[in-house]
């Protein structure tokens, strides 16, 4: 029998029972749609995290006290260090390294900030003057503090957009004095609007010199060190350099961890890819359910059309012709379901991308095509049983079937 004729018969049969056809393909639509949607969601999360990481700055190197397991790059448990990390370490790195563009210590703390009657609580970063080039911090008004101000631990502060708005409203804050906890700081700069980066709202931050921060928090150790390699190719050399310098200062002991933005992104991607695959695999189960729905309907079809099968065989259809005809129907069902499912999922993901451009979950082509092909394969696998059974019915039994 010709392919065209098989197609015509399938179309005729499926159209003759429109509601049943629609309900049967619904299972497949949901299965295929779920695969494409969930994998797109995983990809969207990955795209989001990647762009956030890249927005932090490029060629970033992170040094944290404490030693983590070599296999992961997610850093050590906070506060697990044996030895303090100090500004002397930062100075040593700055003096001796050849592959760094910038390096800064980092001190973290939460303080209350007060101007006249206005009061707010903010997170404060203690850094040196090089920090803005490491983490891409942009100053909108005034300036970041200078090297001199850092070295002498001057009480100067650069505040985020929202903090300033809250304390000063529309008034000019530059040169004004605010109280961080009980110490007075002079405002030298205000950040440009920067928004959220990896869950950290830069508009709600304050930046002060490292020494001033250590005094403010009554501490003598750094939270960590941040550095920027001079270029992408020099990152590995820079990491080696920093490691060597710090080890030397610690009698050869490596009780700190040096990570790069790239290695952190790589491990993040590994996790998010795994998440994507797991989501896809879970969705694939629903596709199997869709396949079972098709098989179920095909069994019903075979029973309903037993007499037709007998008639066709009597006028000259071979067993293989019957097999082909019924298999074609099952595949037509799954292909139809696959098309609608993939199409629907693609439309949904593009619609979401248009509504939320920062979360790019547009369905990647590498899942769209396999999901559709998988639907076709499922149709064959679940259709072959009923079709085979139909082709084995004896002609007379089929003709006499009522």
């Amino acid at each position: 029998m010709q392919f065209k004729e098989i197609l015509r018969l399938s179309a005729e049969s499926l159209l003759s029972q429109k509601l049943r056809t629609a309900l049967t393909i619904l299972g497949m639509v949901i299965g295929v749609g779920a695969i494409v949607l969930l994998v797109s969601l995983g990809q969207g999360a990955k795209n989001y995290v990647t762009s956030e990481f890249e927005g932090l700055g490029t060629n970033l190197i992170i040094v944290q006290p404490g030693k983590s397991d070599k296999k992961t790059h997610m850093g050590p448990p906070v506060g697990a260090a044996q030895r303090k990390m100090t500004t002397a370490d930062v100075m040593a790195i700055e003096k001796r390294s050849l592959n760094l563009e910038a390096v800064s210590g980092l001190v973290l703390g939460t303080v209350s900030v007060r101007f006249e009657d206005a009061l707010s609580n903010i997170t404060v970063f203690g850094t040196n003057e090089q920090f803005p080039s490491i983490l891409t911090v942009r100053v909108g008004q005034g300036d970041y503090f200078t090297r001199e101000e850092d070295e002498y631990g001057r009480r100067v502060v650069v505040l985020g957009q929202n903090v300033v708005k809250e304390l000063f409203g529309e008034a000019d804050p530059i040169g004004q004095t605010v109280k961080l906890n009980e110490s007075e700081f002079k405002i030298v700069g205000v950040l440009a609007p920067m928004g959220n980066k990896l869950g950290l709202d830069f508009d709600e931050l304050g930046f002060i010199p490292t020494e001033a921060a250590l005094q403010l928090f009554n501490d003598d150790k750094l939270f960590g060190i941040r550095a920027k390699a001079s270029s992408r190719v020099s990152i590995d050399d820079a990491v080696a350099e920093i490691t060597e310098i710090l080890k030397e200062r610690r009698d050869g002991e490596e009780d700190f961890t040096v990570m790069t933005q790239i290695s952190m992104m790589a491990s993040m991607n590994t996790i998010l890819n795994m998440l994507t695959y797991v989501l896809g695999a879970i969705a694939a189960i629903s596709m199997i359910v869709g396949g079972i729905g098709i098989m179920n309907i095909m069994w019903v079809t075979v029973v309903e059309r037993t007499q037709e099968i007998g008639i066709r065989r009597a006028v000259g259809a071979r067993r293989i012709d019957i097999l082909k005809q019924l298999l074609a129907e099952a595949v037509a069902l799954s292909v139809l379901g696959g098309l609608v499912g993939v199409g629907g999922a693609v439309v949904i993901t593009y619609g979401l991308y248009i509504s939320f451009p920062s979360f790019d979950m547009r369905a990647p082509i590498w899942i769209v095509i396999p999901a559709f092909l998988l639907a076709c394969v499922v149709g064959v696998i679940f259709g072959v049983g009923p079709a085979w059974r139909a082709s084995r019915i004896e002609i007379l039994d089929a003709l006499r079937y009522e």
Binding site: M1, Q2, R313, A314, V315, G316, D321, L399
Partner: protein
Amino acid sequence: MECESNLFADNRMTLISIDQLHKVFRRGDEEIHAIRAMDLSIDPGEFIAITGTSGSGKSTLLYILGLLDKPSSGRYILQGSPVENLSDSERAHLRNKFMGFVFQSFHLLPRATALRNVMMPLVYAATYDTPIPEDEQRRRATEALTIVGLADRLNHRPNELSGGQRQRVAIARAIVNNPKLLFADEPTGNLDSKSGKEILALFERLNKEGVTIIMVSHDPSIAERAKRKLVLRDGELVEDSHAV
């Protein structure tokens, strides 16, 4: 393929010859002998009625001759070639090319129009030979329906036709591929007597044009219309109007 080349040859040799044919059904522990040690030979151009009481084996014989069923033992030679060892596909090919079937309950596809029903054998003919273009299929199906007097009912579905008309669609389907043999199983059984007569007249006309007809009927008055009458009882041939 040798047997096929014989079957394609159009000579005056015996069309059908069966020798010691047996058909045994098993129902539980019981063995039912539907046909016992039957010998029979049929020439081209005959019009045969097989008659007998219910359970005499007449339909079983018809289906075996029509390659819809297989004998338990014995020989069946069709146009000089044995058919016992033919594959399922080869038997389907013979049914398609050389045989037409008319059943008591018509056996039309309910969803298809008269034209589509009649075109069906031509669709499967494409499996064995070069495909017949759809226009040609339509032309031949229309011609067959015209022969049976239904030229004005081409696009009617079976449920829009009377019993007699349905049986005539079935006959058009049986003759659309110009078969040598037409098998009919109680073709008038579900029809009123007027329609029954029309069907028989149609058979007589086809027989005059050279189609060999083998018809099963339990009704003696209908069987009388055939040129040769076979009477079966308990699976045995008890009367043959041609027997010498």
